[in-house]
Symmetry: C2
Subunit: 278 residues, 2 copies
């Protein structure tokens, strides 16, 4: 099928370019990942990030804290990383155990190293149309559309889900690109009335098979950000087999937005690395 | 007609309550307004703000700069006001002459005194669902809906215009209230296809008579934020005479959102004043 948006392939191209660039650097860029507690999904994501970093030549620093570590201890580590000139990007692997104040921990990361784009000031800079670090999944969605040369001005875009990692930053990015944007979510009464008229649907809910064939206009572009696991098998928000018959372009899941997210994290680290070199 | 949302009356109630509260204060709250150059509309808006402040008992500080003042001089004044414990709110009257960097000037205001809610960090705090200072016009729209006891969860809201003062903050506030939000603007191809199905339309474009009767669903709520002047007479984005025949609630213009904006500015100054007292 040639309507598949091959996130894996594009991700590999981006990562390969970065790998080539880094061959000529004396000092590697460095990403610090804070992990708290033993969430199994977090464990896996941290490993994936480590592999991606090491594959391209980014130095990976893993800072693990037991679930009972005091918030102050973690914040002190973040401050140390903020001030360490050999650290270019810092992320806190989410989710973290509930008894921590996630917002406070995230906002203790200095904006210039916030490669997940989650601090208040970086979120505000995006709203205010300034150059800033943007959450990787949202960046990955936009990069996919760019690679497939989709002109967004005047397009009808429906975003399903209003989370900070995807929905919220995508509102801004699509508006800046001139699209008309509708944001749907769990309280939306008639989701299909919106999706049916959309030129582009981005679904980021984690609800399996939410987007069905009869909810999608012929030749629409469908981007599936959701991640669900059933018996170890990954699927997304979109009923891929059927929706792929009507969509002009569609992301597989896995193999679509997921690999793009990793590539965009690496790209954000590179952005910090390059801007520090200047 | 009893479908008119009487912004003037509600604004007066809010201001009267603040006036009563301030009778018992030794030291007045204080608002500092930076005005640069001689824009006639700015002149008028500054006078309106001064009157509103003085009517309720807020001390008004007017800092006027000639168009040729260096940016550094103005930023130094802002820093002085940031550090002045007797100044509770600071705003820069917009628009300012084009040769200034508006974003840089605004972001030199300390977040805790940013009563226009325009700094990057305050915009980001809103996106990240934190308590923050929010732009007055957007606050005014939400306060009107609250006073008329409109339940927003699941409502179809169409915002026309994506500016920082109204459209952008309203996206966040409506999403937080559980509404489904569509953002239209000058690049939107078929505006009426969106407005026709909306439960609530907020228009903030400054395009006279943009919203016509045949674009509005029966019993929709229509909020007109636009301001246009023709031969000295103010009108809005909405064809009021005709749209008011189909809308269940509608703001007059003038007399709707305008007075609410002033009341919300005063309320933001009070928020800063009260939080400093704690």
């Amino acid at each position: 099928m040639n309507n598949i948006m091959d996130g894996k392939k594009i991700s590999n191209e981006i990562l390969e370019n970065i790998k080539q660039e880094l061959k000529y650097e004396l000092i590697k860029p460095s990403l610090a990942v804070i992990q708290i507690g033993n969430d199994p999904a977090s464990e896996k994501y941290v490993k994936n990030k480590q592999k991606a970093c090491e594959d391209v030549g980014i130095f990976f620093r893993h800072h693990y804290f037991e679930d009972n570590t005091s918030e102050l201890t973690i914040i002190n580590k973040i401050k140390e990383l903020n001030n360490d000139e050999y650290v270019h990007g810092i992320i806190i692997q989410l989710p973290i155990p509930e008894h921590y104040n996630t917002k406070r921990l995230i906002n203790s990361i200095i904006n210039s190293k916030d490669v997940d784009g989650l601090t208040d000031i970086n979120a505000g800079r995006l709203v205010n149309n300034k150059k800033t670090l943007i959450p990787c999944t949202a960046l990955g969605v936009m990069e996919l559309l760019k690679r497939y040369e989709i002109d967004l001005a005047g397009k009808e875009v429906v975003i399903v889900g209003k989370g900070k990692l995807t929905g919220k930053p995508l509102i801004e990015m699509f508006l800046q690109a001139g699209a008309t944007v509708t944001v749907c979510h769990s309280k939306t009464n008639n989701l299909s009335s919106h999706t049916k008229t959309a030129d582009i649907i981005v679904s980021a809910t984690g609800v399996n098979n939410l987007i069905k064939q009869n909810m999608v206009k012929k030749d629409a572009i469908v981007i599936d950000v959701g991640i669900n696991f059933d018996k170890g098998k990954q699927s997304g928000d979109v009923d891929f087999d059927k929706v792929s018959k009507v969509a002009s372009l569609i992301t597989p899941n896995p193999g679509g937005v997921g690999p793009m997210t990793v590539a965009m994290l690496i790209q954000n680290v590179m952005t910090c690395f390059r801007s520090k070199k200047k």
